[in-house]
Protein backbone atom coordinates (compact mmCIF):
# COMPACT_ATOMS: atom_id res chain seq x y z
CA UNK A 1 0.00 0.00 0.00
CA UNK A 2 1.56 3.21 -1.13
CA UNK A 3 -0.27 6.42 -0.57
CA UNK A 4 1.07 9.45 -2.38
CA UNK A 5 3.95 11.24 -0.57
CA UNK A 6 1.56 13.52 1.30
CA UNK A 7 -0.41 10.51 2.58
CA UNK A 8 -3.42 10.87 0.32
CA UNK A 9 -4.84 7.67 -1.11
CA UNK A 10 -7.35 9.44 -3.30
CA UNK A 11 -6.95 12.89 -4.84
CA UNK A 12 -9.81 14.39 -6.79
CA UNK A 13 -9.18 17.59 -8.70
CA UNK A 14 -11.41 19.65 -10.96
CA UNK A 15 -13.64 16.61 -11.41
CA UNK A 16 -16.69 17.06 -13.64
CA UNK A 17 -19.12 14.81 -15.47
CA UNK A 18 -21.57 15.73 -18.16
CA UNK A 19 -23.83 13.09 -19.71
CA UNK A 20 -24.10 13.78 -23.40
CA UNK A 21 -22.34 16.63 -25.19
CA UNK A 22 -24.85 19.33 -24.24
CA UNK A 23 -26.53 17.73 -21.24
CA UNK A 24 -26.51 19.37 -17.80
CA UNK A 25 -23.44 18.74 -15.68
CA UNK A 26 -24.09 16.00 -13.12
CA UNK A 27 -20.92 17.02 -11.32
CA UNK A 28 -18.64 20.04 -11.69
CA UNK A 29 -15.43 21.34 -10.17
CA UNK A 30 -15.14 18.76 -7.41
CA UNK A 31 -11.90 18.84 -5.39
CA UNK A 32 -11.00 16.80 -2.33
CA UNK A 33 -8.46 14.39 -0.96
CA UNK A 34 -8.84 11.28 1.14
CA UNK A 35 -5.94 10.52 3.49
CA UNK A 36 -5.06 6.93 4.17
CA UNK A 37 -7.29 5.32 6.78
CA UNK A 38 -9.96 8.00 6.70
CA UNK A 39 -13.64 7.15 6.73
CA UNK A 40 -15.12 9.87 4.58
CA UNK A 41 -18.87 10.29 4.23
CA UNK A 42 -20.45 12.08 1.31
CA UNK A 43 -23.89 13.47 2.05
CA UNK A 44 -26.29 15.31 -0.16
CA UNK A 45 -29.81 15.41 -1.50
CA UNK A 46 -30.77 13.11 -4.35
CA UNK A 47 -29.56 14.42 -7.66
CA UNK A 48 -26.32 15.84 -6.27
CA UNK A 49 -24.22 13.41 -8.26
CA UNK A 50 -23.12 11.24 -5.31
CA UNK A 51 -23.46 8.01 -7.24
CA UNK A 52 -21.80 9.54 -10.29
CA UNK A 53 -18.91 10.59 -8.06
CA UNK A 54 -18.44 7.04 -6.78
CA UNK A 55 -18.47 5.70 -10.32
CA UNK A 56 -15.79 8.20 -11.27
CA UNK A 57 -13.69 7.35 -8.20
CA UNK A 58 -13.57 3.67 -9.11
CA UNK A 59 -13.15 4.08 -12.85
CA UNK A 60 -16.53 2.62 -13.87
CA UNK A 61 -17.31 5.92 -15.60
CA UNK A 62 -14.83 8.29 -17.23
CA UNK A 63 -14.94 11.95 -16.16
CA UNK A 64 -15.47 14.69 -18.72
CA UNK A 65 -13.23 17.04 -16.73
CA UNK A 66 -10.55 16.69 -14.09
CA UNK A 67 -8.82 13.66 -12.66
CA UNK A 68 -8.97 11.07 -9.93
CA UNK A 69 -5.61 9.92 -8.60
CA UNK A 70 -5.23 6.68 -6.66
CA UNK A 71 -1.84 6.58 -4.91
CA UNK A 72 -0.76 9.34 -7.26
CA UNK A 73 -1.73 7.46 -10.46
CA UNK A 74 -4.74 8.47 -12.56
CA UNK A 75 -7.72 6.11 -12.43
CA UNK A 76 -8.75 5.27 -15.98
CA UNK A 77 -10.40 1.89 -15.43
CA UNK A 78 -11.47 -0.12 -12.38
CA UNK A 79 -8.31 -0.66 -10.30
CA UNK A 80 -7.97 -3.82 -8.26
CA UNK A 81 -7.12 -1.73 -5.19
CA UNK A 82 -10.70 -0.41 -4.98
CA UNK A 83 -13.76 -2.42 -3.96
CA UNK A 84 -17.33 -1.23 -4.03
CA UNK A 85 -20.57 -2.17 -2.26
CA UNK A 86 -23.83 -1.18 -3.92
CA UNK A 87 -27.19 -0.39 -2.37
CA UNK A 88 -28.94 -3.28 -4.07
CA UNK A 89 -27.24 -6.35 -2.62
CA UNK A 90 -29.72 -8.71 -4.29
CA UNK A 91 -28.61 -7.49 -7.69
CA UNK A 92 -24.89 -7.25 -7.04
CA UNK A 93 -24.37 -10.66 -5.43
CA UNK A 94 -24.22 -13.48 -7.98
CA UNK A 95 -27.37 -15.54 -7.33
CA UNK A 96 -25.97 -18.66 -9.00
CA UNK A 97 -23.12 -18.87 -6.49
CA UNK A 98 -23.36 -19.86 -2.84
CA UNK A 99 -22.36 -17.32 -0.21
CA UNK A 100 -18.83 -18.66 0.14
CA UNK A 101 -18.38 -18.88 -3.65
CA UNK A 102 -19.47 -15.27 -3.95
CA UNK A 103 -16.82 -14.28 -1.42
CA UNK A 104 -14.21 -16.51 -3.10
CA UNK A 105 -14.85 -14.91 -6.48
CA UNK A 106 -12.36 -12.02 -6.10
CA UNK A 107 -9.68 -14.56 -5.11
CA UNK A 108 -9.92 -16.56 -8.32
CA UNK A 109 -6.52 -15.37 -9.55
CA UNK A 110 -4.91 -15.13 -6.12
CA UNK A 111 -2.76 -18.21 -6.61
CA UNK A 112 -4.23 -19.79 -3.48
CA UNK A 113 -5.37 -23.40 -3.64
CA UNK A 114 -9.09 -24.04 -3.73
CA UNK A 115 -9.16 -24.98 -0.08
CA UNK A 116 -6.98 -21.98 0.75
CA UNK A 117 -9.43 -19.64 -0.95
CA UNK A 118 -12.31 -21.26 0.84
CA UNK A 119 -10.59 -21.03 4.21
CA UNK A 120 -9.83 -17.37 3.63
CA UNK A 121 -13.38 -16.59 2.50
CA UNK A 122 -14.80 -18.44 5.49
CA UNK A 123 -12.60 -16.44 7.83
CA UNK A 124 -13.94 -13.17 6.38
CA UNK A 125 -17.50 -14.50 6.62
CA UNK A 126 -16.90 -15.28 10.31
CA UNK A 127 -15.71 -11.73 10.90
CA UNK A 128 -18.95 -10.53 9.33
CA UNK A 129 -21.02 -12.69 11.68
CA UNK A 130 -21.98 -15.09 8.92
CA UNK A 131 -20.77 -18.29 10.50
CA UNK A 132 -22.61 -21.32 9.13
CA UNK A 133 -24.02 -19.46 6.13
CA UNK A 134 -21.20 -20.33 3.72
CA UNK A 135 -23.12 -22.91 1.73
CA UNK A 136 -26.43 -21.04 1.62
CA UNK A 137 -27.49 -19.20 -1.48
CA UNK A 138 -27.83 -15.41 -1.11
CA UNK A 139 -31.64 -15.51 -1.40
CA UNK A 140 -31.81 -17.76 1.64
CA UNK A 141 -30.44 -14.94 3.81
CA UNK A 142 -32.10 -11.78 5.11
CA UNK A 143 -31.35 -8.46 3.43
CA UNK A 144 -28.95 -7.42 6.16
CA UNK A 145 -27.05 -10.67 5.90
CA UNK A 146 -26.86 -10.38 2.13
CA UNK A 147 -25.30 -6.96 2.49
CA UNK A 148 -22.80 -8.46 4.94
CA UNK A 149 -21.91 -10.97 2.24
CA UNK A 150 -21.41 -8.11 -0.21
CA UNK A 151 -19.11 -6.36 2.27
CA UNK A 152 -17.24 -9.63 2.85
CA UNK A 153 -16.78 -10.03 -0.90
CA UNK A 154 -15.49 -6.47 -1.13
CA UNK A 155 -13.02 -6.94 1.75
CA UNK A 156 -11.74 -10.43 1.00
CA UNK A 157 -8.96 -9.23 -1.30
CA UNK A 158 -7.85 -6.48 1.12
CA UNK A 159 -8.63 -3.48 -1.05
CA UNK A 160 -6.89 -0.22 -0.29
CA UNK A 161 -10.12 1.73 -0.65
CA UNK A 162 -13.67 0.62 0.05
CA UNK A 163 -16.47 2.57 -1.64
CA UNK A 164 -20.07 2.22 -0.47
CA UNK A 165 -23.02 3.58 -2.41
CA UNK A 166 -26.01 4.03 -0.05
CA UNK A 167 -25.21 0.57 1.30
CA UNK A 168 -27.80 0.47 4.08
CA UNK A 169 -30.69 2.28 2.39
CA UNK A 170 -32.62 -0.90 1.56
CA UNK A 171 -32.73 -2.44 5.04
CA UNK A 172 -34.87 -1.71 8.10
CA UNK A 173 -33.68 0.68 10.82
CA UNK A 174 -32.51 -1.99 13.28
CA UNK A 175 -30.54 -3.84 10.64
CA UNK A 176 -29.13 -0.54 9.46
CA UNK A 177 -27.70 0.17 12.90
CA UNK A 178 -26.17 -3.33 12.97
CA UNK A 179 -24.61 -2.88 9.56
CA UNK A 180 -23.22 0.52 10.53
CA UNK A 181 -21.35 -1.19 13.35
CA UNK A 182 -20.15 -3.91 10.96
CA UNK A 183 -18.71 -1.17 8.77
CA UNK A 184 -17.02 0.52 11.73
CA UNK A 185 -15.47 -2.82 12.62
CA UNK A 186 -14.28 -3.35 9.04
CA UNK A 187 -12.79 0.13 9.02
CA UNK A 188 -11.02 -0.34 12.34
CA UNK A 189 -9.59 -3.82 12.14
CA UNK A 190 -8.11 -4.34 8.74
CA UNK A 191 -4.56 -5.61 9.22
CA UNK A 192 -3.98 -3.50 12.24
CA UNK A 193 -4.57 -0.17 10.52
CA UNK A 194 -7.79 1.45 9.40
CA UNK A 195 -9.04 0.95 5.86
CA UNK A 196 -9.77 3.96 3.70
CA UNK A 197 -13.51 4.19 3.18
CA UNK A 198 -15.69 6.51 1.10
CA UNK A 199 -19.30 6.16 2.13
CA UNK A 200 -22.09 7.81 0.14
CA UNK A 201 -25.39 8.31 1.96
CA UNK A 202 -28.34 10.66 2.20
CA UNK A 203 -28.70 9.87 5.90
CA UNK A 204 -27.12 12.69 7.91
CA UNK A 205 -27.16 10.74 11.19
CA UNK A 206 -25.48 7.79 9.55
CA UNK A 207 -22.77 10.00 8.08
CA UNK A 208 -22.18 11.62 11.45
CA UNK A 209 -22.07 8.33 13.30
CA UNK A 210 -19.61 6.68 10.92
CA UNK A 211 -17.34 9.28 9.44
CA UNK A 212 -14.13 11.08 10.33
CA UNK A 213 -15.11 13.82 7.92
CA UNK A 214 -18.28 14.62 6.00
CA UNK A 215 -18.39 16.27 2.59
CA UNK A 216 -21.71 17.94 1.90
CA UNK A 217 -22.82 18.00 -1.73
CA UNK A 218 -25.29 20.35 -3.41
CA UNK A 219 -27.21 19.96 -6.64
CA UNK A 220 -27.24 21.44 -10.12
CA UNK A 221 -24.47 20.80 -10.77
CA UNK A 222 -23.34 18.33 -8.10
CA UNK A 223 -20.49 19.93 -6.16
CA UNK A 224 -18.97 20.19 -2.70
CA UNK A 225 -20.78 22.89 -0.71
CA UNK A 226 -19.23 22.26 2.67
CA UNK A 227 -17.09 20.07 4.84
CA UNK A 228 -17.46 19.07 8.47
CA UNK A 229 -14.86 17.38 10.67
CA UNK A 230 -16.76 15.01 12.90
CA UNK A 231 -14.22 14.77 15.75
CA UNK A 232 -16.14 12.12 17.66
CA UNK A 233 -14.07 9.59 19.60
CA UNK A 234 -13.53 6.07 18.39
CA UNK A 235 -14.52 3.37 19.06
CA UNK A 236 -18.09 4.58 18.61
CA UNK A 237 -21.18 2.82 19.86
CA UNK A 238 -24.75 3.53 18.86
CA UNK A 239 -26.29 4.85 22.11
CA UNK A 240 -23.26 6.76 23.49
CA UNK A 241 -22.03 8.35 20.30
CA UNK A 242 -25.48 9.39 19.17
CA UNK A 243 -26.22 11.07 22.49
CA UNK A 244 -22.93 12.98 22.61
CA UNK A 245 -23.33 16.77 22.36
CA UNK A 246 -20.80 16.82 19.53
CA UNK A 247 -23.03 14.41 17.52
CA UNK A 248 -25.89 16.94 17.56
CA UNK A 249 -23.55 19.81 16.66
CA UNK A 250 -22.21 17.93 13.66
CA UNK A 251 -25.57 16.77 12.37
CA UNK A 252 -26.97 20.32 12.71
CA UNK A 253 -24.00 21.75 10.91
CA UNK A 254 -24.52 19.32 8.02
CA UNK A 255 -28.25 19.99 8.02
CA UNK A 256 -27.59 23.73 7.86
CA UNK A 257 -25.23 23.32 4.91
CA UNK A 258 -27.80 21.27 3.01
CA UNK A 259 -30.72 23.55 3.85
CA UNK A 260 -28.82 26.68 2.84
CA UNK A 261 -28.28 25.24 -0.61
CA UNK A 262 -31.81 23.90 -0.93
CA UNK A 263 -33.31 27.34 -0.49
CA UNK A 264 -31.38 28.75 -3.43
CA UNK A 265 -33.25 28.76 -6.70
CA UNK A 266 -31.75 26.02 -8.82
CA UNK A 267 -32.42 24.35 -12.11
CA UNK A 268 -33.23 20.65 -11.76
CA UNK A 269 -30.31 18.42 -12.68
CA UNK A 270 -30.26 14.99 -14.21
CA UNK A 271 -30.18 12.68 -11.18
CA UNK A 272 -27.20 10.40 -10.83
Amino acid sequence: MSASPDGHVLQVSGLGKRYGASGPAALAGVNFEVPEGELLAIVGPSGCGKSTLLRLLCGLTAPTEGTVLLDGRPVTRPPREIAIVFQDYSRSLFPWLTVVRNVMFPLRRSGLSRSGKRAHAEAVLREMGLEGKADSYPWQLSGGMQQRVAIARAMVSHPEVLLLDEPFASVDALTRAELQDVLLQVHATREGRPATVVHVTHDIDEATYLADRVLVFGTAPGRVVGEVDVELERPRTQPETRSAPRFLEVRNEIQALISARERLPSTPSAGR
Partner: protein, 260 residues
Protein backbone atom coordinates in the same frame (compact mmCIF):
# COMPACT_ATOMS: atom_id res chain seq x y z
CA UNK B 1 -47.59 -31.89 4.72
CA UNK B 2 -50.76 -31.51 6.76
CA UNK B 3 -53.64 -33.91 6.40
CA UNK B 4 -55.87 -31.25 4.91
CA UNK B 5 -53.13 -30.39 2.43
CA UNK B 6 -52.74 -34.01 1.43
CA UNK B 7 -56.47 -34.37 0.95
CA UNK B 8 -56.58 -31.24 -1.20
CA UNK B 9 -53.75 -32.59 -3.33
CA UNK B 10 -55.47 -35.93 -3.73
CA UNK B 11 -58.67 -34.14 -4.78
CA UNK B 12 -56.78 -32.18 -7.40
CA UNK B 13 -55.16 -35.34 -8.78
CA UNK B 14 -58.51 -37.11 -8.89
CA UNK B 15 -60.06 -34.17 -10.75
CA UNK B 16 -57.32 -34.34 -13.39
CA UNK B 17 -57.79 -38.07 -13.81
CA UNK B 18 -61.57 -37.65 -14.05
CA UNK B 19 -61.35 -35.00 -16.77
CA UNK B 20 -58.90 -37.17 -18.69
CA UNK B 21 -61.19 -40.19 -18.44
CA UNK B 22 -64.18 -38.11 -19.50
CA UNK B 23 -62.31 -36.88 -22.59
CA UNK B 24 -61.41 -40.48 -23.52
CA UNK B 25 -65.04 -41.53 -23.04
CA UNK B 26 -66.29 -38.63 -25.19
CA UNK B 27 -63.82 -39.66 -27.91
CA UNK B 28 -64.94 -43.29 -27.66
CA UNK B 29 -68.62 -42.37 -28.00
CA UNK B 30 -68.15 -39.78 -30.75
CA UNK B 31 -65.96 -42.03 -32.89
CA UNK B 32 -68.22 -45.03 -32.54
CA UNK B 33 -69.26 -46.20 -36.02
CA UNK B 34 -67.11 -43.58 -37.79
CA UNK B 35 -64.83 -44.62 -40.67
CA UNK B 36 -62.65 -41.53 -40.49
CA UNK B 37 -61.74 -41.63 -36.80
CA UNK B 38 -61.08 -44.79 -34.82
CA UNK B 39 -62.23 -45.04 -31.22
CA UNK B 40 -59.83 -44.50 -28.35
CA UNK B 41 -59.86 -48.18 -27.45
CA UNK B 42 -59.03 -49.19 -31.03
CA UNK B 43 -56.07 -46.81 -31.05
CA UNK B 44 -54.83 -48.02 -27.69
CA UNK B 45 -55.24 -51.61 -28.79
CA UNK B 46 -53.25 -51.00 -31.97
CA UNK B 47 -50.53 -49.13 -30.13
CA UNK B 48 -50.25 -52.05 -27.72
CA UNK B 49 -49.95 -54.52 -30.62
CA UNK B 50 -47.41 -52.48 -32.62
CA UNK B 51 -45.21 -51.46 -29.72
CA UNK B 52 -43.27 -54.75 -29.32
CA UNK B 53 -42.43 -55.16 -33.03
CA UNK B 54 -38.78 -54.76 -33.95
CA UNK B 55 -39.64 -52.47 -36.84
CA UNK B 56 -41.58 -50.12 -34.67
CA UNK B 57 -38.88 -49.98 -32.02
CA UNK B 58 -36.29 -49.12 -34.61
CA UNK B 59 -38.60 -46.34 -35.84
CA UNK B 60 -38.63 -44.87 -32.34
CA UNK B 61 -34.86 -45.17 -31.86
CA UNK B 62 -34.16 -43.59 -35.26
CA UNK B 63 -36.46 -40.67 -34.48
CA UNK B 64 -34.81 -40.21 -31.09
CA UNK B 65 -31.31 -40.37 -32.56
CA UNK B 66 -32.22 -37.71 -35.10
CA UNK B 67 -33.81 -35.55 -32.44
CA UNK B 68 -30.74 -35.89 -30.21
CA UNK B 69 -28.32 -35.03 -33.01
CA UNK B 70 -30.40 -32.09 -34.24
CA UNK B 71 -31.03 -30.85 -30.72
CA UNK B 72 -27.39 -30.93 -29.66
CA UNK B 73 -26.30 -29.25 -32.89
CA UNK B 74 -29.04 -26.61 -32.87
CA UNK B 75 -28.92 -25.86 -29.14
CA UNK B 76 -25.12 -25.73 -29.21
CA UNK B 77 -25.15 -23.26 -32.07
CA UNK B 78 -27.94 -21.28 -30.42
CA UNK B 79 -26.16 -20.96 -27.07
CA UNK B 80 -22.79 -20.18 -28.69
CA UNK B 81 -24.18 -17.54 -31.04
CA UNK B 82 -26.41 -16.16 -28.29
CA UNK B 83 -23.49 -15.82 -25.87
CA UNK B 84 -21.43 -13.98 -28.49
CA UNK B 85 -24.28 -11.70 -29.53
CA UNK B 86 -25.30 -11.06 -25.95
CA UNK B 87 -21.76 -10.24 -24.88
CA UNK B 88 -20.73 -7.90 -27.68
CA UNK B 89 -22.74 -4.90 -28.83
CA UNK B 90 -20.85 -4.79 -32.11
CA UNK B 91 -21.57 -8.44 -32.92
CA UNK B 92 -25.16 -8.02 -31.90
CA UNK B 93 -25.68 -5.06 -34.19
CA UNK B 94 -23.92 -6.87 -37.01
CA UNK B 95 -25.89 -10.10 -36.70
CA UNK B 96 -29.32 -8.85 -35.64
CA UNK B 97 -30.83 -8.29 -39.13
CA UNK B 98 -29.55 -11.65 -40.36
CA UNK B 99 -30.90 -13.48 -37.33
CA UNK B 100 -34.25 -11.69 -37.46
CA UNK B 101 -34.81 -12.66 -41.08
CA UNK B 102 -33.58 -16.22 -40.69
CA UNK B 103 -35.60 -16.94 -37.62
CA UNK B 104 -38.76 -15.54 -39.22
CA UNK B 105 -38.43 -18.23 -41.88
CA UNK B 106 -40.62 -21.26 -41.07
CA UNK B 107 -38.22 -24.23 -40.86
CA UNK B 108 -40.73 -26.37 -42.79
CA UNK B 109 -40.19 -24.14 -45.81
CA UNK B 110 -36.55 -25.14 -45.77
CA UNK B 111 -37.26 -28.83 -46.29
CA UNK B 112 -37.48 -28.76 -50.12
CA UNK B 113 -34.37 -26.61 -50.35
CA UNK B 114 -32.45 -28.83 -47.94
CA UNK B 115 -33.53 -31.93 -49.84
CA UNK B 116 -31.89 -30.50 -52.95
CA UNK B 117 -28.82 -29.52 -50.95
CA UNK B 118 -28.36 -32.61 -48.78
CA UNK B 119 -30.60 -35.18 -50.46
CA UNK B 120 -33.08 -37.35 -48.54
CA UNK B 121 -31.61 -38.86 -45.43
CA UNK B 122 -30.24 -38.21 -42.02
CA UNK B 123 -28.20 -35.07 -42.75
CA UNK B 124 -31.19 -33.27 -44.28
CA UNK B 125 -33.38 -34.32 -41.38
CA UNK B 126 -30.87 -33.35 -38.72
CA UNK B 127 -30.31 -29.99 -40.42
CA UNK B 128 -34.05 -29.24 -40.36
CA UNK B 129 -34.28 -30.18 -36.67
CA UNK B 130 -31.20 -28.14 -35.77
CA UNK B 131 -32.56 -25.13 -37.63
CA UNK B 132 -35.84 -25.27 -35.72
CA UNK B 133 -34.09 -25.77 -32.37
CA UNK B 134 -31.42 -23.11 -32.82
CA UNK B 135 -33.48 -19.91 -32.78
CA UNK B 136 -35.57 -20.19 -29.63
CA UNK B 137 -32.35 -21.02 -27.80
CA UNK B 138 -30.40 -18.18 -29.42
CA UNK B 139 -33.04 -15.54 -28.73
CA UNK B 140 -33.47 -16.65 -25.13
CA UNK B 141 -29.73 -16.64 -24.53
CA UNK B 142 -29.44 -13.05 -25.78
CA UNK B 143 -32.45 -11.98 -23.69
CA UNK B 144 -31.03 -13.66 -20.60
CA UNK B 145 -27.76 -11.77 -20.93
CA UNK B 146 -29.57 -8.50 -21.50
CA UNK B 147 -31.30 -9.01 -18.16
CA UNK B 148 -28.02 -9.12 -16.19
CA UNK B 149 -28.35 -6.30 -13.65
CA UNK B 150 -26.15 -3.20 -14.00
CA UNK B 151 -24.92 -3.87 -10.45
CA UNK B 152 -23.73 -7.35 -11.43
CA UNK B 153 -22.00 -5.94 -14.53
CA UNK B 154 -20.31 -3.22 -12.47
CA UNK B 155 -19.31 -5.73 -9.80
CA UNK B 156 -17.73 -7.89 -12.50
CA UNK B 157 -15.81 -4.89 -13.84
CA UNK B 158 -14.58 -3.99 -10.37
CA UNK B 159 -13.46 -7.59 -9.87
CA UNK B 160 -11.29 -7.41 -13.01
CA UNK B 161 -13.44 -9.84 -14.99
CA UNK B 162 -12.16 -9.73 -18.58
CA UNK B 163 -14.15 -10.04 -21.80
CA UNK B 164 -13.88 -13.79 -22.29
CA UNK B 165 -14.12 -14.54 -18.60
CA UNK B 166 -17.27 -12.43 -18.44
CA UNK B 167 -18.95 -14.63 -21.04
CA UNK B 168 -18.45 -17.81 -19.07
CA UNK B 169 -18.44 -16.62 -15.46
CA UNK B 170 -21.16 -13.98 -15.57
CA UNK B 171 -23.24 -14.03 -18.73
CA UNK B 172 -23.66 -17.78 -19.11
CA UNK B 173 -24.76 -18.54 -15.54
CA UNK B 174 -26.88 -15.39 -15.35
CA UNK B 175 -28.64 -16.30 -18.60
CA UNK B 176 -29.09 -19.96 -17.65
CA UNK B 177 -32.73 -19.68 -16.52
CA UNK B 178 -33.59 -17.97 -19.77
CA UNK B 179 -31.53 -20.46 -21.78
CA UNK B 180 -33.43 -23.31 -20.16
CA UNK B 181 -36.73 -21.67 -21.06
CA UNK B 182 -35.48 -21.59 -24.65
CA UNK B 183 -34.34 -25.21 -24.49
CA UNK B 184 -37.74 -26.28 -23.25
CA UNK B 185 -39.40 -24.65 -26.24
CA UNK B 186 -36.71 -26.22 -28.41
CA UNK B 187 -37.60 -29.73 -27.22
CA UNK B 188 -41.15 -29.28 -28.52
CA UNK B 189 -40.02 -27.60 -31.71
CA UNK B 190 -37.47 -30.35 -32.19
CA UNK B 191 -40.10 -33.05 -32.01
CA UNK B 192 -42.22 -31.22 -34.59
CA UNK B 193 -39.19 -30.96 -36.85
CA UNK B 194 -38.43 -34.67 -36.44
CA UNK B 195 -41.88 -35.59 -37.71
CA UNK B 196 -41.81 -33.06 -40.55
CA UNK B 197 -38.37 -34.11 -41.69
CA UNK B 198 -39.48 -37.73 -41.62
CA UNK B 199 -42.63 -36.94 -43.59
CA UNK B 200 -40.31 -35.64 -46.27
CA UNK B 201 -37.50 -38.10 -45.82
CA UNK B 202 -37.42 -41.75 -46.68
CA UNK B 203 -36.51 -44.71 -44.54
CA UNK B 204 -37.60 -44.86 -40.94
CA UNK B 205 -38.80 -42.99 -37.88
CA UNK B 206 -42.17 -42.32 -36.28
CA UNK B 207 -43.06 -39.73 -38.93
CA UNK B 208 -42.53 -42.32 -41.64
CA UNK B 209 -44.61 -44.80 -39.65
CA UNK B 210 -47.55 -42.40 -39.79
CA UNK B 211 -47.13 -41.68 -43.50
CA UNK B 212 -46.85 -45.38 -44.25
CA UNK B 213 -50.05 -46.19 -42.36
CA UNK B 214 -51.79 -43.37 -44.21
CA UNK B 215 -50.65 -44.91 -47.50
CA UNK B 216 -52.15 -48.22 -46.44
CA UNK B 217 -55.43 -46.43 -45.54
CA UNK B 218 -54.83 -47.74 -42.00
CA UNK B 219 -56.46 -44.91 -40.04
CA UNK B 220 -56.06 -46.63 -36.69
CA UNK B 221 -52.35 -47.04 -37.41
CA UNK B 222 -52.04 -43.31 -38.15
CA UNK B 223 -53.65 -42.50 -34.81
CA UNK B 224 -51.47 -44.99 -33.00
CA UNK B 225 -48.45 -43.16 -34.41
CA UNK B 226 -49.86 -39.85 -33.21
CA UNK B 227 -50.42 -41.33 -29.76
CA UNK B 228 -46.82 -42.48 -29.61
CA UNK B 229 -45.54 -39.05 -30.60
CA UNK B 230 -47.69 -37.50 -27.89
CA UNK B 231 -46.29 -39.90 -25.30
CA UNK B 232 -42.76 -39.30 -26.53
CA UNK B 233 -43.26 -35.55 -26.18
CA UNK B 234 -44.57 -36.02 -22.66
CA UNK B 235 -41.64 -38.19 -21.61
CA UNK B 236 -39.08 -35.81 -23.13
CA UNK B 237 -40.65 -32.84 -21.40
CA UNK B 238 -40.63 -34.61 -18.03
CA UNK B 239 -37.00 -35.62 -18.47
CA UNK B 240 -36.14 -32.07 -19.39
CA UNK B 241 -37.86 -30.66 -16.31
CA UNK B 242 -35.86 -33.07 -14.17
CA UNK B 243 -32.60 -31.80 -15.61
CA UNK B 244 -33.73 -28.20 -15.30
CA UNK B 245 -34.74 -28.58 -11.68
CA UNK B 246 -31.25 -29.78 -10.81
CA UNK B 247 -29.38 -27.24 -12.91
CA UNK B 248 -31.45 -24.27 -11.78
CA UNK B 249 -32.03 -25.08 -8.12
CA UNK B 250 -30.53 -21.72 -7.16
CA UNK B 251 -32.86 -19.87 -9.48
CA UNK B 252 -36.12 -21.52 -8.49
CA UNK B 253 -35.27 -20.88 -4.86
CA UNK B 254 -34.41 -17.25 -5.53
CA UNK B 255 -37.57 -16.48 -7.47
CA UNK B 256 -39.87 -18.64 -5.36
CA UNK B 257 -41.00 -20.19 -8.63
CA UNK B 258 -41.93 -23.86 -8.70
CA UNK B 259 -41.88 -26.20 -11.62
CA UNK B 260 -45.01 -28.19 -12.25
Amino acid sequence: MSRAGRRRRLARTLLGVAVFAAALLAWEVAAEGSFQVPTASEVADRAWQDWPSAEFRSDVTESLKRLAAGFVLGAGLGVAAGLLMGSSHALRRALDPLVELTRATPPIALVPALVVLLDYGDSMQIAVIAFGVCFPVLVNTVDGIRAVSPEARDTASMLQVGRVERIFRINLPAALPSIFAGLRIAVSVGLVMVVISEFAGTGDGLGRYIVEKQGQVDVTGVWAGILFLGLLGLVLNRLFLLVERRALAWHHGATGERLS
